[in-house]
């Protein structure tokens, strides 16, 4: 018996021994496609509204292609049957219910057609008035389940509006432009707001009297408080990732320079000492670098430096007028406004200065700001005549206005979450 064992072990070893074979290794390289997805109207009151919001979110993301319900054989009240979907081209199907039981309860079920099974089932609850945020939450989860990445359907965009001669106001809207609300802030003039990393406050620059002062507004309290009230023009820039420091520019010493404010200690640290203009600091997502505008070369260009003010280096080399930089929260791009053919357009460039791309062409386009996943940019555009707030994907596709028609709106900033 031992011999038998020995023989079989020997044979087993033989089978395991590396043979003189060529390993077949195949690369499959492909580009993504928009995923056809069937978003069915939900059962229950306002079921159509909810599915419309989810459909719009998924379509605007550029990742999905919601299918025309006219082609569906399955009804919303029927159980999911993969047989109804195989061959339609749908990769996934969403169904669910809406209930009004004092509060809103949304149940969403997501099915994978190829695997022929339920891959997600979730319940969402909120107050009656929160149908839109509820729907956006569901869209977020569908997006994340299928792509493995977080979506931005619950994020917001803050922007400034001009109310004729009455002055300026701060506004906040959902990322799709809906639920636009005026904040309790008004001033002769307001500059672009900046969100704290936890999105609980915004910081902005207001001109009151003969000064430009930086203020902070807590959303929970809706009361503004001065943050930096010094001589000259102080313009708020980006927060550092830990939320404890704010990059800003100030003309307190005469010409405008970049400073970093330690908020707890109320200490200003000077980052540039050039004789010209240094303005508009934007902070990299790892907090180690700052991109800003400087005219030290004779015309405004984008530069980068580290967070201590060292290693200054020029980023933009084409065009004679480049301003308004914004660093993508995923770090791979810096967007800015550059003068081209007599107009301002939105450009993106890699942090090493290469890969320059122009994303807009119509009218004047300025003041870009990235979404937290780096896949979208909001910006100011006057292509319709007066200034309005637009949104596009960071490759320039899908440009559309999100500020209300007829409103003069500009200087937008995307919330970090």
């Amino acid at each position: 018996m031992i011999r038998a064992a020995a023989v079989t072990v020997f044979m087993g070893l033989l089978a395991f021994a590396p043979t003189a074979r060529a390993e077949l290794y195949i690369d499959i390289v492909s580009s993504p496609r928009k995923l056809p997805i069937a978003i069915m109207e939900l059962e229950g009151p306002q079921g159509r509204e909810v599915s419309d919001i989810i459909k719009a979110d998924l379509a605007l993301s550029g990742v999905f292609e919601p299918m025309d319900p006219g082609g569906f054989t399955e009804r919303k009240d029927q159980d999911f049957d993969p047989g109804n979907w195989i061959g339609t081209g749908a990769e996934a199907v969403m169904k669910g219910t809406v209930e009004h039981t004092g509060e809103l309860v949304l149940t969403v079920r997501l099915y994978d057609v190829v695997e022929s099974r339920l891959i997600m089932e979730k319940k969402y609850r909120a107050g009656k008035t929160l149908l839109r945020p509820l729907s956006h939450a569901a869209a977020n989860d569908i997006y994340e389940k299928i792509t493995g990445r977080k979506a931005v359907f619950r994020t917001k965009i803050a922007y400034v509006s001009a109310d004729g001669d009455k002055g300026y106001s701060l506004n906040v809207a959902d990322w799709d432009g809906m639920r636009q609300r005026k904040l309790n802030v008004a001033a002769r003039s307001l500059l672009s707001p900046h969100w704290t990393p936890d999105a609980r406050k915004i910081v902005y620059t207001a001109q009151r009297g003969r000064k430009w002062t930086i203020y902070s507004l807590d959303f929970a309290v809706l009361k503004e408080e001065p943050l930096l009230d010094i001589k000259g023009t102080s313009i708020a820039g980006d927060f550092f990732p830990d939320g404890n420091s704010l990059a800003l520019s100030s003309s307190v010493k005469g010409s405008t320079d970049i400073y970093v404010l330690d908020i707890a200690k109320m200490k200003l640290k000077r980052m540039t000492r050039d004789m010209g203009i240094e303005v508009s600091p934007t902070v990299s997502p790892d907090g180690k670098s700052i991109a800003y505008v400087s005219d030290r070369a004779g015309s405004p260009q984008i530069y980068t430096m580290d967070s201590m003010g060292y290693n200054k280096s020029r980023l933009t080399n084409e065009g004679g007028y480049n301003t308004s930089p914004s660093w993508s929260p995923v770090g791979d791009l810096i967007a800015f406004s550059g003068r081209n053919g007599g107009r301002n357009q939105i450009f993106t460039v890699w942090p090493d200065g290469s890969g320059l791309r122009m994303l807009t062409a119509s009218g004047n386009n300025e003041e870009p700001s990235f979404s937290p996943d780096g896949r979208f940019i909001t910006f100011t555009s006057d292509r319709e005549g007066k200034r309005t707030v637009y949104v596009m994907r960071s490759d320039g596709s899908g440009q559309r206005r999100i500020s209300p028609r007829g409103m003069e709106a500009f200087s937008p900033r995307w919330s970090p979450r």
């Binding site: 003969r210 520019s249 010493k253 005469g254 004789m275 203009i277 303005v279 004779g298 003041e367």
Partner: protein, 193 residues
């Protein structure tokens, strides 16, 4: 007064793009002003263009009365007796004082030193740049004017600056003439009694 302004505007347009820049280190500005003009270099960083020979501080001290009468005649005067010094204009993306406006600044300087008043210099821009950069540019323009005045003897505490960037245009057309009008330094004088 209006004709004067139009003349200035035409001069500004024709003089577009040719003026070398004045680079001033803000930290050296005050000291340079007290020391007078004529290109004193401080810390190797300050370069002040020499003021034209036609104007020197001696004019003011020697015959200030004559000069002030001159000024009163040249400018329209408000009910309070304050001359309406007109806006001075800048080239696109520039904050250097152009030769044509030195006369105005000199007059302003003379008047200020002889009167108890505070000057507010406003810096403005056309809307072709972006808001934040333009705000900084307006500051820089106001600063250029202030430096010039300080250099000609006006005490620092009599001059304040503010920038309005592109926020307070005098016109909103997309035209060179309108843009020019917006790229201005504007003076607001408050008499102290």
């Amino acid at each position: 007064m209006r004709r004067f302004l139009v003349l200035l505007a035409i001069l500004a347009v024709t003089a577009y793009g040719c003026t070398p820049r004045t680079i001033v280190d803000d930290q050296g500005a005050g000291a340079a002003g007290e020391a007078g003009a004529q290109g004193q270099a401080q810390d190797g960083q300050v370069t002040i263009e020499p003021i034209s020979d036609s104007v020197s501080s001696t004019d003011v001290t020697a015959s200030s009365g004559d000069r002030l009468t001159d000024i009163a005649n040249r400018y329209k005067t408000s009910s309070q007796g304050v001359p309406e010094f007109g806006d001075i204009y800048f080239d696109f993306d520039s904050y250097s004082i152009q030769g044509d406006y030195r006369r105005v600044l000199d007059d302003l300087s003379s008047w200020l030193t002889s009167n108890n008043a505070i000057l507010l210099v406003e810096g403005h821009c056309d809307d072709r740049g972006t808001r934040e950069y333009n705000l900084a540019l307006g500051d820089r323009r106001a600063l250029s004017i202030k430096d010039y005045l300080l250099a000609s003897g006006v005490p620092d505490l009599k001059i304040e600056t503010v920038s309005y960037g592109e926020e307070r245009p005098v016109c909103k057309d997309e035209s060179e003439s309108c843009w020019t009008k917006n790229r201005r330094g504007h003076f607001v004088i408050e008499v102290v009694r």
